[in-house]
């Protein structure tokens, strides 16, 4: 999946208010590489809450300003559940999880 101008940030463990700052720092690092496509992989998270969603919303904000593509991987676990609940799934380019099929977007 990774092309020359693609940078992917893989987040693991729990993404909540405690770890959101760290995740934001990692995304900011990836942004400094000025990729044409930034991918944030949320599919391996064991927990994600609304403060974790902030990370993606901020990255999206930056991507629009920089004219860059942002894509996310949600998998079928907590990330998909939270993004669905917040009405956000349709607002992002969602890529299939690396070790599984694309999420059901029905």
């Amino acid at each position: 999946m990774t092309a020359d101008h693609t940078v992917e940030v893989v987040l693991t463990g729990e993404l909540d208010i405690a770890s959101a700052e760290d995740a934001l720092r990692r995304v900011a690092e990836a942004e400094r590489a000025a990729p044409s496509l930034l991918v944030i992989d949320l599919s391996r998270l064991t927990f994600v809450d609304s403060s974790g969603v902030r990370v993606v919303l901020v990255a999206d904000d930056h991507a629009r300003a920089a004219g860059r593509r942002l894509a996310i991987r949600l998998g079928r676990g907590p990330a998909l559940r939270v993004f669905t609940a917040l009405g956000l799934v349709d607002r992002f380019e969602v890529l299939p999880a690396r070790d599984g099929p694309a999420p059901d977007r029905a």
Partner: protein, 701 residues
């Protein structure tokens, strides 16, 4: 001194040598000694006398100040090792020495042993002026210590007429007197008979020879550069003070000087150790006090514990006063005996303290200047007493010494710390004053922090109160219950939550707006956004818009707000409630918010109305769903602080919430709210990771 001693003895019969350094290098030896052991000056003694027992005795004398006697086989001598100022004085008694010489040498050894174990200057002086004087055949003896630059003080004397002894209790050092000359020059003065007294010291001769005294030896007591005083031996018969007698007298003086220096060093060392221990105690105490000041207790409890910590090790009494507005209150008082604390409390009730009394806690609190009473004279109590009875009572406390220091922070006095010595009879000194000031500093900073913390907590509380309705309106036909519990912080109480619930009257009778919202983030910005949501909703509900339209308008209001960013999005579940005679109909819209649950009897269904979160996108997608609440049905609105709660058993989750709502037996809105809150708090062992808000509507059964 010992060098002078060996010089003085010259080539007289008693063989003497002096060693110095830990190697016991022979620095002097008189001819008699050289005849016995050869010329060893400049070399370690073991070169001449390689006997382990002798070296051990020399070590004991040099390092520990213990005298010893060692008989040697070859040459056949008995060696006395006597600690003296610069090293060790060796008295070498040949086996074939005359009995008289052997006897005197042995007596000197015994004296050295007794001096080495004497505990204080008085005991040393007593030994010298009795035992030593008898050995030397002296009829009178006085031992004097150099107490200050210009005078000597008698430590002990015996044998002189009372008038003479009385005159020498304290001796001003003045040139032209034998004792003064000996001390000031550091050399012995020998007066062999009354004629020498008269010719050399005519002014002092009447005193020196009164009572029939003839000869006098004034011997300075010195160890290195330390001038310790002098010893005087007087004789009723003329003495020629030949070399052998001088040797003996000087050796005795050297032993006396050594012993005095030893106890002086010991006393200094003990004082230094005691001071160091007191300092260590103070440091330990300060550390404990600092930790205490961080304890999660009220200010008063902390100060009371601080006071308890101070008694009885640092003072008999300890009290803390705090400035409160225009009053100064005693907030803590401690004494090892609670009965005394009670006694003083009754006393102060009967005789309230005079706020203007100088040095009182009240006065020090106001002025910020410490008051120090090293001694509390009775006159002070007399002045302070209102009447005889008062005086009797305050005298009974037995006040001795007191320190009152202000609790200062940034130049402001918050109160005072008072330490008082009473029945222990101790006195505070300057070091205690400085220590008390340090302790007051610890207490003052802790107090200041507590005050700032209290102020922040109050601001947070005020903000929080503004974000949630103080009371929910009375909705006819519907019971409403709400619960809110903020996230558990280690700075509990400083947190302003982003959860919101509200119930607002609509534009027509029987219609109401209900909302539960959750603003992402914490702190003042989240609080401002929460306030915006609350007030916008109230206004839009009042205009009669449906729930999806209200949320759209809210979204636009949030996007218009300057400083809007994806960091501050919000979710909200908003319903328009229409109450009728048989229950209520609710039209719900949700902006990314967890779906409300409806309980009908024992079943539960989620009211899903998919929608986009608020505050990020100008075009949000919202749907409306209508549900009916018949009599006894309930609707539960909540924030994700419930369903996303994590405990040791993992995620709380939708299912657990739905099951609990369904299975709670015959609840009312209130009891269900209590049950749900208790369950989610218990699930997290009482530590909430996020705010929890619940709003429950119950169609009246």
């Amino acid at each position: 001194m010992t060098t002078a001693l060996v010089d003085a003895v010259g080539d007289r019969p008693l063989p003497l040598a002096v060693t110095a350094t830990a190697e016991h290098v022979v620095v002097r030896a008189n001819p008699a000694a050289r005849n016995l052991v050869g010329d060893v000056v400049g070399r370690p003694i073991r070169a001449a006398l390689p006997h382990p027992a002798l070296l051990a005795a020399l070590d004991a004398a040099y390092h520990r100040g213990d005298p010893g006697v060692v008989p040697l086989p070859a040459p056949d001598v008995v060696v006395g090792c006597l600690p003296v100022a610069d090293g060790v004085l060796l008295l070498l008694a040949p086996a074939d020495a005359p009995p008289d010489l052997r006897r005197r040498t042995a007596a000197l050894h015994r004296l050295a042993a007794e001096l080495a174990s004497a505990a204080n200057p008085q005991a040393i002086a007593f030994l010298v002026s009795t035992t030593a004087a008898r050995l030397l055949g002296a009829d009178a003896c006085g031992v004097y210590s150099r107490t200050d630059a210009g005078a000597l003080t008698t430590l002990h004397s015996s044998g002189w007429p009372a008038a003479t002894a009385g005159r020498f209790t304290r001796v001003e050092l003045r040139r032209g007197r034998p004792l003064s000359d000996a001390v000031l020059d550091g050399t012995p003065v020998w007066l062999e008979d009354a004629a020498q007294w008269r010719s050399r010291y005519p002014e002092m001769a009447p005193v020196g020879t009164s009572g029939g005294f003839q000869a006098t030896a004034c011997l300075p007591l010195r160890v290195r550069d330390r001038d310790l005083g002098a010893v005087v031996f007087s004789f009723l018969t003329p003495r020629p003070f030949r070399s052998d007698e001088r040797e003996y007298l000087l050796a005795t003086a050297a032993l006396c000087a050594q012993a005095l220096d030893r106890v002086r060093l010991l006393a200094a060392e003990q004082a230094a150790r005691a001071a160091a221990e007191r300092q260590l105690d103070r440091m330990t105490f300060l550390a404990r006090a600092s930790r205490l000041m961080e304890a999660p207790l009220s200010v008063e409890e902390r100060l009371q514990r601080l006071a308890n910590l101070a008694v009885p090790d640092f003072s008999d009494w300890c009290a803390v006063h705090l400035v409160r507005g225009d009053r100064v209150d005693e907030v803590a008082v401690a004494h090892a005996d609670p009965a005394k604390v009670a006694f003083v409390a009754r006393l102060q009730e009967r005789y309230p303290p005079d706020p203007t009394a100088p040095g009182s806690a009240i006065e020090v609190s106001r002025t910020g200047r410490p008051a120090f009473f090293p001694e509390i004279p009775d006159a002070l109590l007399v002045d302070a007493a209102v009447d005889e009875e008062h005086l009797r009572l305050i005298r009974s406390i037995g006040l001795r010494s007191a320190v009152v220091v202000p609790l200062l922070v940034r130049g402001r006095s918050l109160g005072t710390l008072t330490l008082v010595h009473a029945e222990s009879g101790q006195r505070f000194d300057e070091v205690d004053l400085a220590f008390t000031a340090q302790l007051a500093g610890v207490a003052a900073v802790a107090l200041d922090n507590a005050r700032l913390y209290e102020e922040q907590r109050r601001i947070a509380q005020t903000l929080q109160d503004a974000l949630l309705p103080a009371v929910l309106p009375d909705v006819p036909g519907v019971r409403v219950a709400a619960r809110y519990r903020p996230q558990t912080d280690h700075l509990a109480g400083l947190h302003v939550g982003g959860d919101l619930y509200d119930v607002v009257a609509g534009d027509t009778p029987g219609t109401w707006g209900v909302v539960v919202a959750d603003v992402c983030g914490k702190g003042p910005e989240a609080a401002a956004r929460t306030a915006l949501i609350r007030h916008t909703l109230r206004a839009e509900v009042g205009h009669g818009h449906g729930p999806a339209e209200v949320l759209r308008r809210l979204n636009r209001a949030m996007l218009r707000e300057p400083g809007g960013s994806p960091l501050r999005f919000a979710t909200a579940a908003h319903g328009r409630l229409h109450v009728d005679g048989d229950g209520a109909t609710v039209t719900m819209a949700s902006a990314g918010h967890p779906p409300p649950l409806v309980r009908r009897g024992g079943t539960v269904e989620a009211v899903t109305a998919p929608g986009t979160l608020l505050g990020v996108y100008p075009d949000i997608e919202l749907t409306e769903t209508t549900v009916r609440l018949d009599r006894g049905d309930m609707m539960v609105l909540y924030t994700d602080g419930v369903t996303e709660a994590r405990g040791v058993n993992g995620l709380y989750g939708n299912d657990r919430l739905a099951t609990l709502v369904a299975t709670t037996p015959s609840p009312t809105a209130d009891t269900l709210a209590d049950t749900l809150l208790a369950d989610v708090v218990g699930f997290q062992q009482g530590r909430l990771h996020d705010d929890v808000a619940l709003l429950i509507l119950e169609a009246m059964p």
